[in-house]
């Protein structure tokens, strides 16, 4: 009830201002609003701050906690650096949509009840679709429609689940639950759809790479990580999530290995990384939740960094396929180095942010004595280096000489990449600087000589495997089928078949049907339309004299009176 600014509102206002403003003023809005938002995020105290009465419910649009501020901070930071990266190159409507999208994500962070959460959830779905469409190509339009269908469907599932919980428990509070009945299962499924969990993981790698070079930077950050936050708030320790997370981890690696498009490789590796977080939420211990939150923070930074370096390459060369790229390190040193720093971070190399955050998750698995989970996570860490850590920079910047000699990144894109690169290293070198902001007390020491050595062996020998098996990973001009084949091809063909059968049926029985139907149409026309030789109006279509009308009304009314007294 204090007078203060809801952080999400600042970005919504900014999103409105980006359109009408011009020149310096617009730049000031794009670069200033995220900073004010960050300030506002840190003004939110713990606990429910504002309440609004809506119908019978007490809505809590802003509720603070360490965890919520932590996620909101990285979303705010992402908006600032993303804005810096994009403000001179992106179209204004893409930037406006990006800010509204970020506002939705920050709104979810502070949502104190399920209704607010749902509203901001849909807000994100709408504006992220606009970003996909801003890609401007026919493929982007089609992918945007598929993306919107998937997210609106997910939204409906979530909404039905929320309504079920509200009806059966009478509470709209956001509190930890387990998937024990149909309501909570629907909420869980609705959230997992946004986390790109199986079997719908394909929406992510389908839509993100079709957006513009700047758009994919925004897209990479918010949707899946708000889903992780929602999972932490609602389903900590839900055992199903361990399996779902491990599946996502392996799925991301395998599909990224098969992929030819540079941004699609990165998109698959989002699924892989979110899998680590989902798995951590499933483990559910304090260490695991800390790990999920810390890893989400670090992940947004290095994943945006990777998408930025890929974005610069596409911006400068117009190409995104590994088969077309290669040898760009000669003329793009800044982009190459920043891309490599992002790649090392995602691979959790010692001295990068990935090492100080991801190893929390595997330590949590060992603390809980989960042998299989630990070994799968470790194998996956090796696999991340394989599919993202080396494959991405190798095929884009080194490999063969593509003959292209593009210029390096424009100054604002370079600045954005350098800020995020510095953060990747800072978080890797000074982990104690951010451990204090995590939701639980951190009792974790990232750098132990034995552990560093273990990870160096693991990663360097993964690198050896990459270069020895390079011939097996020759890029081909292909895409890989996914579960979305069932609705993009199977259902499409089934629909077409149904139409064909229907046509056959009509041709076979059509003449009989037409005879019956035309008799009805003639009757309708006789009473309601104009028909006949003199184009006479039907009984209900023609104008009646006033006297006749008055007479009929009198008859009706008197009949009514008689019937009433009978």
């Amino acid at each position: 009830m204090t007078e203060f600014l809801p952080p999400a509102l600042i970005l919504i206002v900014a999103a409105f201002l980006i359109g009408p403003t011009r020149g310096v003023l617009r730049h000031a809005v794009i670069l200033g609003a995220p900073l004010i938002t960050l300030w506002a995020i840190w003004q939110v105290p713990n606990g429910v701050v504002t309440t609004v009465q809506f119908l019978d419910y007490t809505i809590e649009p802003v509720e603070g906690s360490e965890l919520r501020r932590w996620f909101a901070t990285i979303f705010g930071l992402m908006t600032f650096v993303g804005g810096l990266y994009a403000f001179r190159q992106a179209k204004w409507y893409e930037l406006a949509a990006g800010f509204a999208y970020a506002a939705g994500a920050i709104g979810v962070c502070f949502a104190g009840d399920l209704i607010t959460l749902f509203l901001f959830w849909e807000f994100m779905a709408l504006f992220s679709t606009v970003i996909v469409w801003s890609g401007g190509t026919a493929a982007a339009r089609a992918a945007g429609i598929r993306y919107a269908i998937m997210h609106l469907l997910g939204g409906i599932v979530l909404k039905v689940g929320i309504e079920g919980v509200v009806v059966h428990t009478g509470s709209i509070d956001i509190q930890p639950m387990l998937a024990t009945n149909i309501d909570t299962w629907l909420i869980l499924i609705g959230i997992l759809i946004n986390a790109a969990a199986p079997p719908v993981s394909a929406w992510l790698a389908d839509a993100y790479p079709e957006s513009s070079p700047t758009g994919s930077v925004f897209l990479s950050a918010y949707t899946t990580k708000t889903a992780v936050l929602a999972l932490i708030l609602l389903f900590p320790g839900e055992p199903v999530l361990i399996g779902v997370g491990l599946y996502m981890i392996m799925y991301g690696i395998i599909y990224a290995l098969l992929e030819n498009d540079a941004r699609r490789i990165l998109a698959y590796s989002i699924v892989n990384q979110v899998g680590f977080m989902v798995c951590a939420v499933g483990i559910g211990s304090q260490m695991a939740i800390n790990g999920a939150a810390a890893h989400a923070f670090a992940h947004i930074i290095y994943k945006a960094l990777l998408f930025m370096s890929a974005g610069v390459v596409i911006y400068r060369t117009g190409k995104s396929k590994c088969t077309d790229l290669g040898g760009l390190f000669r003329t793009m040193p800044i982009t190459t180095i920043c891309g490599i720093i992002g790649a090392l971070s995602i691979s959790s190399f010692p001295l990068t942010s990935g090492f100080t955050t991801k190893t929390m998750i595997s330590t949590a698995a060992t603390d809980e004595g989960m042998l299989l989970v630990y070994f799968l996570l470790t194998a996956a860490s090796a696999g991340v280096f394989l599919h993202a850590g080396i494959k991405f920079p190798w095929f884009v910047f080194f490999q063969k000489d593509s003959g292209m000699r593009p210029k390096d990144a424009p100054w604002n894109m370079s600045a954005a990449m350098i800020i995020f690169s510095a953060l990747c290293i800072f978080m890797g070198v000074y982990p104690e600087s951010f451990y204090g902001y995590l939701p639980y007390d951190v009792n974790f020491e990232p750098y132990k000589a034995g552990k560093v050595l273990f990870y160096l062996q693991l990663l360097l020998f993964s690198g050896l495997a990459f270069f020895l098996f390079l011939p097996l990973m020759k890029r081909t001009l292909t895409i890989s089928l996914d579960f979305d084949w069932f609705w993009r091809v199977f259902l499409y063909r089934a629909g077409k078949l149904a139409v064909e059968v229907g046509t056959e049926f009509r041709d076979a029985f059509g003449h009989r049907w037409r005879r019956v139907s035309s008799a009805y149409v003639d009757k309708l026309r006789y009473y309601f339309g104009q028909s006949g030789m003199d184009n006479r109006r039907g009984m209900f279509a023609s104008a009646w004299p006033i006297g006749a009308t008055a007479l009929w009304i009198a008859v009706l009314l008197s009949t009514y009176i008689v019937v009433h007294y009978l």
């Binding site: 395998i254 098969l258 070994f375 090796a382 696999g383 280096f385 020998f461 098996f469 089928l481």
Partner: protein, 88 residues
Amino acid sequence: MNQNQDDHWLVRPASIRLLWKLFWAVLAITVALQIFIEVKGYFGVDGWIGFGAAFGFGSCVAMVIVAKGLGYLLKRDQNYYRAEADDD
């Protein structure tokens, strides 16, 4: 494609050979260091000498081969979905 003498240092065959030698040396050192630095095994086996190296290498080879195998099943021409839509 590296015939040009004036091409970048990184892509000359001589420097690539040198990089490989350095890489092998670093690999050997990371395993050898385990004689001096104890790696705490959480489940016993992961504390063995060179376990990280073997596990990393082995799981990557397995993933590459699984991906290759699945590729035969899942890979389609890059215009696959477009061709489907243009079919009618």
